[in-house]
Amino acid sequence: MSVTVSSPADDTPLLRVSSVSKSYGARTGCEDVSFELWPGEVLAVVGESGSGKTTLLNCISSRLMPTSGTVSYRMRDHTWRELYRMSEAERRFLMRTDWGFVHQNPADGLRMTVSAGANVGERLMAVGDRHYGNIRSTAIDWLGRVEIGADRIDDEPRAFSGGMRQRLQIARNLVTSPRLVFMDEPTGGLDVSVQARLLDLLRGLVADLGLAAIVVTHDLAVARLLSHRMMVMKDGRVIETGLTDRVLDDPREAYTQLLVSSILQV
C-alpha cells in the first residue's frame, strides 16, 4: 500500500539549520545539528547544563558564528537568506524587527534605565514608527497583554520584580509582531507561581500570534507546556527528536529516559 504524507502547498519552513557545528578550540559546543522550523511551531531544546543547547541557540540566532554549517531564514518577501552571508546591519535589523530574543536574565534584554514604555516603544521605532501617540498607545496595549498596569508605563524596569521584568522583556520582543522568537530559559530564576503565570501567558501569546519559537530549557515541564516538538541534546549532539509528548511519554534513548525519570513528582 502506498502512502502519501499530506503536505499542503503553503507548508514551507521558516528556518533551515544544516549541519551546524561550533567548537571552542578543541572543545565542542554543538556538533552537526540540522533541523527545520515551520511557522507557528514551537521547538524545545532540552538537555542538561553544558549539553550545547545555548551554544546552538546563539548560533542560529546570529549571536555566535558557527564553525561550520548554514542557517537559512525565509524573509517576509519569501526569499531565502543565509544568515551568515547577510551584512551585519541586515542581521541586526532582522533581530530588531522580525525576530525576538528573550533572555533568561531580563536585564540582558531590557534597557534598565529607561521607562517600561520606552523599552517597548524603542522596538517600534526600529521598524519606523515615529508617531509618539501611536507608540505610547501600542506600548500600553502590550503592557496590558503581559499583565503590567498602564500606571507603570513610566517606571524603569529597575523598579519591577523579576516576573514583571520578564513579562516586560516579552512585550518588548513581541511588539513588532516578529515571526520567530528565541527564548533562553525564559522561566529560569523565577518562583514557581511566577513561572506558572509566565508560562500560561507565553502559551496564550504564542498560540494567538502564530509565532514560531525555539525555547531552550532544562525544565521538561516547560517543554511539555510550551512546545510542539522537542530536541534532546547531549555532549553537543541531538540524540533524540520528536513530538513533545511522544519524547516525554515514550523516550527511546538512554539519556532521554534518564532525564524523564529524573523529574520530581509533586
Binding site: M1, V5, H228, L243, R246, D250, E253, A254, S261
Partner: protein, 235 residues
C-alpha cells in the same frame, strides 16, 4: 470513509535503558480497522497493551514496525512514520482522544479547557464557549466550577471536563481511554448517550471500558488484545 483507520502488523516494545537495556515486548502483529459509525472496544486484561495501542494511534507512543493508516484531509497518512507536525494536524482535525486523566494548565478555566480544541481549530471564541457550556451542563458539572481552573476539582469532575473536551470537536475518529472510570451512574449514562450520538454522526470510535454495562451499551465490535501478545521466541 467507511474505514477511516487501518492498523496493520504493528509491533511495539519498550527498551528500558536504565534497567540494563531490558526489552519489554508489548504487542505484536496488531491488525484491525475501524468503521465509520461504529464503536470498537479493546478487550483483554490489564497489561495486555490496550492503552499502548490507543497511544500509538494518537502518535503519543512510537511504533517499532507496521503501519497505522488514517484518512486525513483526503489523503492517507501513516501515523507510525509521519512527521510531528503532520501528527499534530491529524490531532487537530482527524483523531480526537479522551485520556484517562486531565492534564491541567495553570490558570485556564474549565470552560476554556473544554473550548480550546475548537478555538485552536479556528472557531469563534464565544461560539466555542457556548458549545463548551452546553456539554458541561449535560455532564452535570456545577456551573459554579466553569470559571475555575480544574486543577483543584475532584477526580470525577476532572474526568467530566476531559470528556467534554474530547467530545466537543467533530473529529471523524475518537479514541476513548476509560472515559467512565470515575463517574457515577447518571454521568455514565450521559457518556453512553454521547457515544451513541457520535456513532449517529458517522464517527469511528475505539475505546477501553472497564465497566461491563458501559461496554455492553456501546460496543459494536470487540477487539481481543490478547491475540496481539508477543510470541515467545525460542532460544
Amino acid at each position: 470513509m467507511a474505514t477511516p483507520l487501518v492498523v496493520s502488523e504493528v509491533a511495539k516494545g519498550f527498551t528500558m535503558h536504565l534497567r540494563g537495556g531490558l526489552k519489554l515486548p508489548v504487542v505484536d502483529d496488531v491488525s484491525f480497522s475501524l468503521r465509520a459509525g461504529e464503536c470498537a472496544v479493546l478487550g483483554g486484561p490489564s497489561g495486555a497493551g490496550k492503552s499502548s495501542i490507543l497511544k500509538m494511534l494518537y502518535g503519543n507512543y512510537s511504533v517499532d514496525t507496521g503501519q497505522i493508516i488514517v484518512q486525513h484531509r483526503g489523503m492517507l497518512v501513516d501515523i507510525a512514520r509521519a512527521a510531528p507536525r503532520v501528527v499534530l494536524s491529524v490531532r487537530r482535525e482527524t483523531i480526537g482522544y479522551v485520556s484517562q486523566f486531565l492534564r491541567t494548565v495553570p490558570r485556564v478555566s474549565a470552560l476554556d479547557v473544554v473550548a480550546e480544541p475548537l478555538t485552536t481549530a479556528g472557531a469563534d471564541r464565544e461560539a466555542a464557549r457556548d458549545s463548551a457550556a452546553a456539554l458541561l451542563a449535560r455532564l452535570n458539572l456545577p456551573k459554579t466550577l466553569w470559571s475555575l481552573p480544574p486543577a483543584t476539582f475532584s477526580g470525577g469532575e476532572q474526568q467530566r471536563v476531559n470528556i467534554a473536551r474530547g467530545f466537543i470537536t467533530s473529529h471523524p475518529i475518537l479514541l476513548l481511554d476509560e472515559p467512565t472510570a470515575s463517574l457515577d451512574a447518571v454521568n455514565r449514562q450521559v457518556v453512553i448517550d454521547l457515544i451513541a450520538e457520535k456513532k449517529q454522526a458517522g464517527v469511528a470510535l475505539l475505546g477501553i471500558f472497564h465497566d461491563q454495562d458501559v461496554r455492553e451499551a456501546v460496543a459494536d465490535a470487540v477487539i481481543d488484545v490478547t491475540r496481539f501478545a508477543p510470541k515467545k521466541v525460542a532460544a
